[in-house]
Symmetry: C2
Subunit: 170 residues, 2 copies
Protein backbone atom coordinates (compact mmCIF):
# COMPACT_ATOMS: atom_id res chain seq x y z
CA UNK A 1 0.00 0.00 0.00
CA UNK A 2 1.21 3.54 -0.59
CA UNK A 3 2.48 5.63 2.30
CA UNK A 4 2.77 9.37 2.86
CA UNK A 5 5.91 11.52 2.80
CA UNK A 6 4.97 12.87 6.25
CA UNK A 7 4.57 9.48 7.93
CA UNK A 8 7.87 8.12 6.59
CA UNK A 9 9.82 11.38 7.05
CA UNK A 10 8.92 14.19 9.49
CA UNK A 11 6.88 11.90 11.78
CA UNK A 12 9.97 9.71 12.32
CA UNK A 13 12.31 12.71 12.68
CA UNK A 14 10.10 14.07 15.49
CA UNK A 15 10.65 10.78 17.39
CA UNK A 16 14.42 11.01 16.81
CA UNK A 17 14.52 14.64 17.97
CA UNK A 18 12.81 13.56 21.22
CA UNK A 19 15.46 10.84 21.57
CA UNK A 20 18.15 13.49 21.11
CA UNK A 21 16.68 15.50 24.02
CA UNK A 22 16.93 12.38 26.22
CA UNK A 23 20.55 11.91 25.11
CA UNK A 24 21.31 15.50 26.17
CA UNK A 25 19.72 14.77 29.56
CA UNK A 26 22.21 11.92 30.00
CA UNK A 27 25.11 14.15 28.95
CA UNK A 28 24.05 16.83 31.46
CA UNK A 29 23.77 14.20 34.22
CA UNK A 30 27.22 12.85 33.28
CA UNK A 31 28.98 16.21 33.62
CA UNK A 32 27.14 16.95 36.90
CA UNK A 33 28.06 13.57 38.43
CA UNK A 34 31.68 13.74 37.32
CA UNK A 35 32.18 17.44 38.10
CA UNK A 36 33.11 18.22 34.48
CA UNK A 37 32.75 21.76 33.13
CA UNK A 38 29.79 21.40 30.69
CA UNK A 39 31.60 23.56 28.15
CA UNK A 40 34.20 20.80 27.72
CA UNK A 41 31.57 18.43 26.29
CA UNK A 42 29.63 21.18 24.50
CA UNK A 43 32.80 22.25 22.68
CA UNK A 44 34.19 18.76 22.06
CA UNK A 45 34.82 17.67 18.47
CA UNK A 46 36.20 14.55 16.78
CA UNK A 47 38.71 16.44 14.61
CA UNK A 48 39.85 20.08 14.55
CA UNK A 49 37.92 21.00 11.37
CA UNK A 50 34.69 19.22 12.36
CA UNK A 51 31.83 20.99 14.15
CA UNK A 52 31.77 20.72 17.98
CA UNK A 53 28.94 19.00 19.85
CA UNK A 54 26.81 22.17 20.19
CA UNK A 55 26.93 22.86 16.46
CA UNK A 56 26.15 19.24 15.59
CA UNK A 57 22.91 19.54 17.58
CA UNK A 58 22.13 22.93 16.02
CA UNK A 59 22.74 21.51 12.52
CA UNK A 60 20.51 18.50 13.22
CA UNK A 61 17.71 20.98 14.01
CA UNK A 62 18.33 23.49 11.25
CA UNK A 63 18.81 20.81 8.56
CA UNK A 64 15.30 19.58 9.28
CA UNK A 65 13.66 22.99 9.81
CA UNK A 66 15.15 24.66 6.74
CA UNK A 67 14.45 21.79 4.37
CA UNK A 68 10.94 21.04 5.61
CA UNK A 69 10.05 24.75 5.41
CA UNK A 70 11.16 24.76 1.76
CA UNK A 71 9.35 21.54 0.97
CA UNK A 72 6.13 22.70 2.66
CA UNK A 73 6.44 26.26 1.33
CA UNK A 74 6.29 27.88 4.75
CA UNK A 75 8.57 30.42 6.44
CA UNK A 76 11.62 28.86 8.15
CA UNK A 77 12.34 29.85 11.74
CA UNK A 78 15.53 31.90 12.06
CA UNK A 79 18.02 30.94 14.77
CA UNK A 80 21.24 32.65 15.84
CA UNK A 81 22.94 29.46 17.12
CA UNK A 82 23.57 31.18 20.46
CA UNK A 83 22.92 28.13 22.66
CA UNK A 84 25.63 27.68 25.31
CA UNK A 85 24.19 25.01 27.65
CA UNK A 86 22.50 21.61 27.53
CA UNK A 87 19.23 23.24 28.64
CA UNK A 88 19.39 25.81 25.84
CA UNK A 89 20.13 23.08 23.29
CA UNK A 90 17.19 21.03 24.58
CA UNK A 91 14.96 24.09 24.15
CA UNK A 92 16.28 24.49 20.60
CA UNK A 93 15.40 20.88 19.80
CA UNK A 94 11.97 21.48 21.33
CA UNK A 95 11.44 24.36 18.91
CA UNK A 96 12.37 22.12 15.97
CA UNK A 97 9.85 19.52 17.15
CA UNK A 98 7.13 22.18 17.51
CA UNK A 99 7.95 23.50 14.02
CA UNK A 100 7.62 20.04 12.46
CA UNK A 101 4.42 19.37 14.38
CA UNK A 102 3.00 22.65 13.06
CA UNK A 103 3.48 21.81 9.38
CA UNK A 104 0.25 20.49 7.82
CA UNK A 105 1.14 16.97 6.57
CA UNK A 106 -0.68 17.68 3.30
CA UNK A 107 1.85 20.44 2.51
CA UNK A 108 4.60 17.81 2.62
CA UNK A 109 2.67 14.94 1.08
CA UNK A 110 1.93 16.66 -2.22
CA UNK A 111 5.59 17.32 -3.09
CA UNK A 112 6.99 13.86 -3.94
CA UNK A 113 7.29 14.67 -7.67
CA UNK A 114 7.58 18.45 -7.32
CA UNK A 115 10.97 19.78 -8.43
CA UNK A 116 12.82 22.15 -6.11
CA UNK A 117 15.59 24.45 -7.36
CA UNK A 118 17.89 24.79 -4.34
CA UNK A 119 20.89 26.97 -3.65
CA UNK A 120 23.01 24.88 -1.28
CA UNK A 121 26.61 25.27 -0.08
CA UNK A 122 27.45 22.54 -2.62
CA UNK A 123 25.98 24.61 -5.47
CA UNK A 124 22.66 24.83 -7.28
CA UNK A 125 20.69 21.59 -7.52
CA UNK A 126 17.27 20.47 -8.76
CA UNK A 127 15.71 17.66 -6.75
CA UNK A 128 12.19 16.31 -6.40
CA UNK A 129 10.58 16.46 -2.95
CA UNK A 130 11.16 12.73 -2.52
CA UNK A 131 14.86 12.98 -3.41
CA UNK A 132 15.29 16.03 -1.18
CA UNK A 133 13.53 14.54 1.87
CA UNK A 134 14.79 10.93 1.80
CA UNK A 135 18.05 11.42 -0.12
CA UNK A 136 19.30 14.55 1.65
CA UNK A 137 17.34 15.66 4.74
CA UNK A 138 17.08 12.26 6.43
CA UNK A 139 20.74 11.21 5.93
CA UNK A 140 21.93 14.72 6.84
CA UNK A 141 19.84 14.77 10.03
CA UNK A 142 21.12 11.34 11.15
CA UNK A 143 24.67 12.39 10.26
CA UNK A 144 24.52 15.24 12.79
CA UNK A 145 22.54 13.29 15.42
CA UNK A 146 24.99 10.37 15.22
CA UNK A 147 28.05 12.61 15.33
CA UNK A 148 26.65 14.37 18.43
CA UNK A 149 26.15 10.91 19.99
CA UNK A 150 29.65 9.80 18.90
CA UNK A 151 31.23 12.89 20.47
CA UNK A 152 29.56 12.07 23.80
CA UNK A 153 30.57 8.39 23.61
CA UNK A 154 34.14 9.36 22.71
CA UNK A 155 34.17 11.44 25.91
CA UNK A 156 32.91 8.63 28.12
CA UNK A 157 29.18 9.41 28.42
CA UNK A 158 27.34 6.11 28.96
CA UNK A 159 24.94 5.74 26.03
CA UNK A 160 23.78 2.80 23.94
CA UNK A 161 21.71 2.02 20.87
CA UNK A 162 18.58 2.07 23.05
CA UNK A 163 19.20 5.78 23.63
CA UNK A 164 19.58 6.40 19.90
CA UNK A 165 16.52 4.34 18.87
CA UNK A 166 14.42 3.58 21.96
CA UNK A 167 11.08 2.79 20.35
CA UNK A 168 10.14 3.26 16.69
CA UNK A 169 6.51 2.51 17.57
CA UNK A 170 6.28 5.66 19.70
Amino acid sequence: MPISMFDAGPARLIVSLRNLIAILDKAAAHVAENKIDPSVLLGARLYPDMFPFTRQVQQACSTVETALARIAGVEAVKHDNAEVSFDELKARIGKAIAFLEGIPPAAINETADKEFALKLPRGDVRWTGLQYLFGFVVPNFYFHMTTAYDILRHNGVRLGKLDFIPNPAA
Copy 2:
Protein backbone atom coordinates in the same frame (compact mmCIF):
# COMPACT_ATOMS: atom_id res chain seq x y z
CA MET B 1 0.60 12.18 -3.73
CA PRO B 2 1.38 8.87 -2.02
CA ILE B 3 4.83 7.33 -2.29
CA SER B 4 6.11 3.78 -1.99
CA MET B 5 8.06 2.23 0.89
CA PHE B 6 10.69 1.07 -1.62
CA ASP B 7 11.30 4.48 -3.20
CA ALA B 8 11.64 6.27 0.16
CA GLY B 9 13.60 3.47 1.86
CA PRO B 10 15.69 0.79 0.07
CA ALA B 11 16.14 2.90 -3.09
CA ARG B 12 17.81 5.64 -0.99
CA LEU B 13 19.84 3.16 1.06
CA ILE B 14 21.30 1.71 -2.16
CA VAL B 15 22.59 5.22 -3.05
CA SER B 16 24.09 5.61 0.44
CA LEU B 17 25.77 2.19 0.27
CA ARG B 18 27.41 3.27 -3.02
CA ASN B 19 28.59 6.43 -1.25
CA LEU B 20 30.07 4.25 1.50
CA ILE B 21 32.09 2.32 -1.10
CA ALA B 22 33.52 5.63 -2.38
CA ILE B 23 34.37 6.63 1.22
CA LEU B 24 36.29 3.36 1.63
CA ASP B 25 38.18 4.13 -1.58
CA LYS B 26 39.33 7.40 -0.02
CA ALA B 27 40.33 5.63 3.20
CA ALA B 28 42.36 3.06 1.22
CA ALA B 29 44.07 5.85 -0.76
CA HIS B 30 44.83 7.70 2.51
CA VAL B 31 46.62 4.75 4.11
CA ALA B 32 48.55 4.03 0.89
CA GLU B 33 49.70 7.66 0.51
CA ASN B 34 50.66 8.01 4.16
CA LYS B 35 52.22 4.56 4.52
CA ILE B 36 49.81 3.61 7.32
CA ASP B 37 49.13 -0.06 8.09
CA PRO B 38 45.49 -0.46 6.88
CA SER B 39 44.69 -2.52 9.99
CA VAL B 40 45.18 0.61 12.10
CA LEU B 41 42.21 2.32 10.45
CA LEU B 42 40.20 -0.89 10.05
CA GLY B 43 40.51 -1.55 13.78
CA ALA B 44 40.07 2.05 14.95
CA ARG B 45 37.19 2.86 17.30
CA LEU B 46 35.93 6.00 19.05
CA TYR B 47 35.75 4.38 22.50
CA PRO B 48 36.92 1.03 23.85
CA ASP B 49 33.43 -0.52 24.04
CA MET B 50 32.28 0.74 20.63
CA PHE B 51 32.62 -1.33 17.43
CA PRO B 52 35.75 -0.70 15.30
CA PHE B 53 35.55 0.65 11.75
CA THR B 54 35.30 -2.78 10.10
CA ARG B 55 32.36 -3.81 12.27
CA GLN B 56 30.58 -0.48 11.73
CA VAL B 57 30.64 -1.16 7.98
CA GLN B 58 29.53 -4.77 8.49
CA GLN B 59 26.66 -3.62 10.75
CA ALA B 60 25.57 -1.00 8.21
CA CYS B 61 25.21 -3.83 5.69
CA SER B 62 23.66 -6.47 7.95
CA THR B 63 21.18 -4.02 9.51
CA VAL B 64 19.76 -3.36 6.07
CA GLU B 65 19.96 -6.93 4.75
CA THR B 66 18.46 -8.61 7.82
CA ALA B 67 15.60 -6.16 8.21
CA LEU B 68 14.68 -5.93 4.54
CA ALA B 69 14.73 -9.72 4.26
CA ARG B 70 12.23 -9.91 7.15
CA ILE B 71 10.08 -7.16 5.73
CA ALA B 72 10.03 -8.69 2.25
CA GLY B 73 9.69 -12.26 3.55
CA VAL B 74 12.79 -13.55 1.77
CA GLU B 75 15.82 -15.44 3.03
CA ALA B 76 18.56 -13.21 4.49
CA VAL B 77 22.11 -13.70 3.27
CA LYS B 78 24.39 -15.10 5.99
CA HIS B 79 27.78 -13.46 6.51
CA ASP B 80 30.62 -14.45 8.79
CA ASN B 81 32.01 -10.90 9.23
CA ALA B 82 35.45 -12.15 8.12
CA GLU B 83 36.41 -9.05 6.09
CA VAL B 84 39.96 -7.88 6.91
CA SER B 85 40.70 -5.29 4.18
CA PHE B 86 39.14 -2.28 2.49
CA ASP B 87 38.67 -4.36 -0.67
CA GLU B 88 36.86 -7.10 1.21
CA LEU B 89 34.62 -4.55 2.94
CA LYS B 90 33.81 -2.95 -0.42
CA ALA B 91 32.84 -6.38 -1.75
CA ARG B 92 30.62 -6.90 1.31
CA ILE B 93 28.85 -3.58 0.64
CA GLY B 94 28.48 -4.62 -3.00
CA LYS B 95 26.68 -7.78 -1.86
CA ALA B 96 24.30 -5.71 0.28
CA ILE B 97 23.52 -3.50 -2.74
CA ALA B 98 22.90 -6.56 -4.94
CA PHE B 99 20.63 -8.03 -2.26
CA LEU B 100 18.54 -4.86 -2.03
CA GLU B 101 18.37 -4.58 -5.81
CA GLY B 102 17.12 -8.16 -5.98
CA ILE B 103 14.12 -7.64 -3.68
CA PRO B 104 10.92 -7.07 -5.67
CA PRO B 105 9.73 -3.58 -4.61
CA ALA B 106 6.17 -4.94 -4.30
CA ALA B 107 7.28 -7.26 -1.49
CA ILE B 108 8.35 -4.18 0.51
CA ASN B 109 5.55 -1.88 -0.57
CA GLU B 110 2.71 -4.03 0.75
CA THR B 111 3.98 -4.09 4.33
CA ALA B 112 3.39 -0.54 5.64
CA ASP B 113 0.57 -1.65 7.98
CA LYS B 114 1.67 -5.28 8.40
CA GLU B 115 2.72 -6.07 11.96
CA PHE B 116 6.05 -7.82 12.50
CA ALA B 117 6.85 -9.71 15.71
CA LEU B 118 10.62 -9.34 16.07
CA LYS B 119 13.14 -10.87 18.45
CA LEU B 120 15.82 -8.21 18.74
CA PRO B 121 18.76 -7.83 21.14
CA ARG B 122 16.59 -5.25 22.93
CA GLY B 123 13.81 -7.82 23.44
CA ASP B 124 10.61 -8.80 21.66
CA VAL B 125 8.82 -6.01 19.80
CA ARG B 126 5.82 -5.67 17.49
CA TRP B 127 6.22 -3.00 14.82
CA THR B 128 4.45 -2.27 11.55
CA GLY B 129 6.53 -2.35 8.37
CA LEU B 130 6.52 1.45 8.26
CA GLN B 131 7.73 1.76 11.87
CA TYR B 132 10.36 -0.93 11.33
CA LEU B 133 11.74 0.51 8.08
CA PHE B 134 11.69 4.26 8.80
CA GLY B 135 11.85 4.21 12.60
CA PHE B 136 14.54 1.53 13.01
CA VAL B 137 16.31 0.38 9.83
CA VAL B 138 16.99 3.84 8.35
CA PRO B 139 18.28 5.47 11.61
CA ASN B 140 20.27 2.34 12.46
CA PHE B 141 21.88 2.22 9.01
CA TYR B 142 22.87 5.90 9.13
CA PHE B 143 24.14 5.43 12.69
CA HIS B 144 26.69 2.87 11.48
CA MET B 145 27.53 4.68 8.22
CA THR B 146 28.10 7.95 10.10
CA THR B 147 30.17 6.30 12.82
CA ALA B 148 32.35 4.65 10.16
CA TYR B 149 32.80 8.10 8.57
CA ASP B 150 33.50 9.71 11.97
CA ILE B 151 36.19 7.11 12.76
CA LEU B 152 37.96 7.94 9.47
CA ARG B 153 37.67 11.72 10.06
CA HIS B 154 38.93 11.29 13.64
CA ASN B 155 41.98 9.59 12.15
CA GLY B 156 42.69 12.33 9.63
CA VAL B 157 41.17 10.95 6.42
CA ARG B 158 40.07 13.90 4.27
CA LEU B 159 36.32 13.55 3.80
CA GLY B 160 33.44 16.01 3.66
CA LYS B 161 29.66 16.09 3.49
CA LEU B 162 29.90 15.71 -0.28
CA ASP B 163 31.34 12.24 0.27
CA PHE B 164 28.52 11.34 2.66
CA ILE B 165 25.72 12.73 0.45
CA PRO B 166 27.09 13.41 -3.04
CA ASN B 167 23.87 13.43 -5.04
CA PRO B 168 20.41 12.42 -3.82
CA ALA B 169 19.13 12.63 -7.40
CA ALA B 170 21.35 9.71 -8.44
